[in-house]
């Protein structure tokens, strides 16, 4: 039994060392078989760029909306969407039987009414009430005389020259005179109040008329006019962006035709929307490169406005085309472009080296695996170490990172896999 154990032990030891020798003599093959191979790179200072592919369209900078000053029925449109129109071209024809049911009065009529009101105001303001005032003055004079006469009569009465009845009659006359004076004064006061109210009312009327005239004038500018044959003609050169329906009642203020004032690339702008998460990236970008097969199209757009679209989690970007060559732009056609931003990174590594791979954002934490060398007389061992880093800037293929300053020219693994963990020995794949 003992010899059997000894034999097994002996065989095990011999087998073990035989294996060690066999595997050792094929060292490189063994390494290839069992050790994870890693590709490494050293962080470098470099200039890198990040590009954002966008899709946008060309829209006119200025638009003209054709409305009529009342509800209408359009019989026919003479233009189609995308068609170029020139000043004087017929745009549409309305149903003459229905006409233009306008809510606006004639400006001339309004002006006459205004004039009338102004005359009325003048008249009211010039009303003096002189007769009434004179009546009051006369009554006051009369009262004064009567009071003096009563005083004399009282003296005479005390002397016994006149009777008490005569004095009493005079006093009664004076009272009735006082009542008349009061009445006259009240009437004068009432007339003045009434005059003031009328003046105010007239002023209000004048103001309303002036507003109406102004609105009517604006409306005249705002609305297109229809010729006597029911046709509406274009006042501008442009391109048709939209047309409304025919054979239905279109209420006042409905846009019948929308025209874009397009002459060349200077008269249009590039508009695009991108997700809100790119706001920081876009905020200090200034140029869009246009990818177009059309040689005549300008290849650059200068970003002029970046605004958030509320509740939509999108950002609207507008820009003007540079290098206009006087070619005619195609409105609303989808155009692809690239927004490129340049960065300078002190320590840049390929994106694939940074874990996690999915969300690269400036300021985010992550980690990389660096390969540490342990040199010996018999060769070098490479051991993986996990190092936490912070992403500084993100490019298309590379990222600039912080957190590896303590290592001098670290070898960073660029093909990390599940086998690569902290402390794992690896082979560097040249």
């Amino acid at each position: 039994m003992e010899s059997k154990v000894l034999k097994i032990s002996k065989n095990t030891i011999i087998t073990f060392f035989t294996l060690v020798f066999i595997l050792g003599f094929f060292s490189k093959s063994v390494v290839n078989l069992f050790i994870p191979k890693v590709q490494v790179t050293t962080p470098v200072k470099s200039t890198f760029s990040r590009t954002l592919n966008i899709k946008g369209k060309i829209v006119p900078k200025e638009k003209v909306k054709i409305r009529l000053a009342g509800s209408v029925i359009v019989e026919d449109y003479f233009v189609k969407i995308g068609e170029k129109v020139e000043k004087g071209d017929p745009l549409l024809k309305i149903n003459k039987n229905y006409g233009v049911k306008s809510s606006y009065k004639d400006i001339d009529e309004l002006k006459i009414d205004l004039k009338k009101e102004k005359f009325k105001l003048e008249r009211l303001q010039n009303t003096t009430y002189n007769i009434d005032k004179m009546n009051v003055q006369l009554l006051e004079e009369k009262m004064k005389n009567m009071k003096e006469e009563i005083k004399k009569l009282e003296k005479l009465y005390k002397a016994g020259a006149i009777t008490a009845n005569k004095l009493h009659v005079k006093k009664q006359n004076l009272k009735s005179l006082e009542i008349n004076l009061k009445k006259e004064k009240l009437m004068l006061q009432e007339k003045r109040k009434e005059n003031q109210l009328e003046i105010q009312e007239t002023l209000g009327n004048i103001e309303n008329l002036e507003t109406e005239i102004s609105e009517a004038k604006n409306a005249k500018n705002f609305y297109y006019e229809i010729s006597s044959d029911g046709i509406c003609y274009s006042d501008v050169d442009g391109i048709v962006l939209n047309t409304n329906d025919t054979e239905v009642i279109l209420p006042q203020d409905t846009v019948l035709i929308e025209l874009g004032l397009v002459k060349n690339f200077n008269s249009v702008k590039f508009v695009t929307k991108i997700p809100e998460k790119y706001y920081n990236f876009i905020s200090d970008a200034d140029m869009i490169k246009i990818n177009s097969q059309n040689d005549k199209m300008p290849d650059q757009v200068n970003i002029t406005e970046v605004s958030k679209v509320i509740n939509n989690k999108m950002i609207k970007i507008e820009g003007e085309f540079l290098n206009d060559n006087n070619s005619f732009p195609i409105i609303n056609k989808e155009i692809k472009g690239i927004i490129e931003k340049k960065y300078v990174g002190e320590k840049t590594v390929p994106k694939i080296a940074v874990i996690p791979h999915d969300k690269f954002e400036a300021g985010k934490k992550g980690h990389v695996y660096i390969v540490l060398e342990e040199k010996g007389a018999l060769g070098t061992e490479y051991i993986v170490k996990r190092v936490n880093i912070t992403i500084k800037d993100v490019g298309d293929d590379v990222v600039s990172i912080d957190g590896i300053d303590m290592y001098d020219n670290p070898k960073i693994v660029i093909n990390p896999s599940f086998k690569i963990r902290d402390g794992v020995k690896v082979r560097i794949w040249e």
């Binding site: 060690v20 010996g376 007389a377 061992e381």
Partner: protein, 271 residues
Amino acid sequence: MKKLLLVVLLIISLLYVYPIIFTFTSSFMSYEEIMSGNIHIIPEEFNLQQYYSIITFKGEYFHYFLNSIKLTSIIIFGQVIIGIFAAFAFAKMDFVARNLIFILYILAILLPFQVTLVPNYLVFDKIQRLINIKIFDTHTAIILPGIFTSFGVILLRQFIRNIPNEIIETAMLDGASYTKILFKIVLPILRPAIFTLIILTFIDNWNLVEQAIIFLDSPSKLPLSVFLENIYYNDFKVFYAGAVLYIIPSLILFIKGEKYLMEGLNIGGLK
């Protein structure tokens, strides 16, 4: 009394064996356990990390191992061939100044090899200058002096001398030439002596140090015996495994050839 003697002998033998056991068991310890400073024989945790490192990243070890194998095997082969022919001549052939030459051979064996290193160096230098053959920093500088040592000749001569002359004379009467006598009669009898010579030469050359240090400049040409020191200082993590692997060939050869070694030493009268 006998038991006491046994105990004393056991203790003395343990003193001899302890370093080997310690090296062997340490080769299965982790680097941290070795460096912990607690000297113990049984590993706390059986660990093959040292062997794994040698097989994988420290593959250079086997390069030096092969250097040793190459040097040792060529020297053994050369010494056996030359030894057989020279020993047969000294033992069974008559020629002028045979004894005088043999005395010179004996004198050569009396000199420590460290003494002969300087003359060897001067001879190689002279040869290099005269015929423009590179000897320094090549294995030739170790192999040539190793092949032409007198130890093998003297050892084999002692064996051949023990072969009765009657056997050889009878063969000659039957018309056998010296060559035929050597290969047909002497060699089969000489087998234990040859194994003895192989084992002794192997042990001698497997552990050679001075020759390599003096004649070899390129680190890549060094034998493992010299490079072990370098491993100790620069790759201590795998030193014990390297040392165990270094012992293995000598051990196997000794275990397998022990019988022949004892037999050969007895017959040769060297014991």
